[in-house]
Amino acid sequence: MSEFSQALSITSSGLQAQAQRLRHLSENIANADTPGYRRKTVSFEAALGGTGEAGAVRTGPVQLDRSDLERVYDPAHPLSGEDGHYEGSNVDLVIEIADAREAQRSYEANLKMFEQARQMSSRLLDLLRR
């Protein structure tokens, strides 16, 4: 397994991890109005790559954000209690959008590295063709 194919597999693990992160972010945004929903956070951890060498990344276990749920005043809501409040979700759309933008940028960086490794390997083989 050459360095180039190792670079490809490590980059691919990064792409996969960022896609996973984006998936959980979209779950959070979709459930922003769900009463009692706690936002999910994704952690990254180093993993062994496909070749058994360290350097790849994978997503760790999904954790729930334990911060307080937002209390919404709506006496007509079926879930509202005695005081007319019910517990909404603790999703902050601004944070989710910022996080999504960061995931997108990291994804693009990984894609760039993928392209770079491919270009480098084909340039190397071009040397042989002359």
Partner: protein
């Protein structure tokens, strides 16, 4: 004087095993066979991943990675083959 010659001979004997080929390396033929096996395995993996992706089982990232690796392997094999054939033709053109 004799002792130093003896020491030199012994030193030579001691250091000779370091230059012997190891038990695992069976020369260029073995190395080429290993490369060919690697190549076939990469191709097979790429095909298996493509099939799984068509069936909706594999991640698209895995598909792209497997195809890029297959492309890299095929390109390497083709380039080396071209070079070998070129060298062979060069030898055939030699005036005898």
């Amino acid at each position: 004087m004799e002792i130093s010659a003896l020491a030199a001979a012994r030193g030579y004997l001691d250091s000779r095993p370091a230059t012997d080929p190891g038990p695992g390396s069976g020369g260029p033929a073995e190395a080429m066979a290993g490369v060919a096996r690697d190549f076939a395995a990469t191709l097979q993996e790429g095909e298996a991943t493509a099939k799984a992706a068509m069936a909706g089982e594999a991640d698209p990232h895995a598909l792209v990675q497997a195809l890029a690796q297959t492309e890299l392997a095929v390109e390497t094999a083709v380039t080396v083959r071209d070079k070998v054939v070129e060298a062979y033709q060069e030898i055939l053109r030699m005036p005898v």
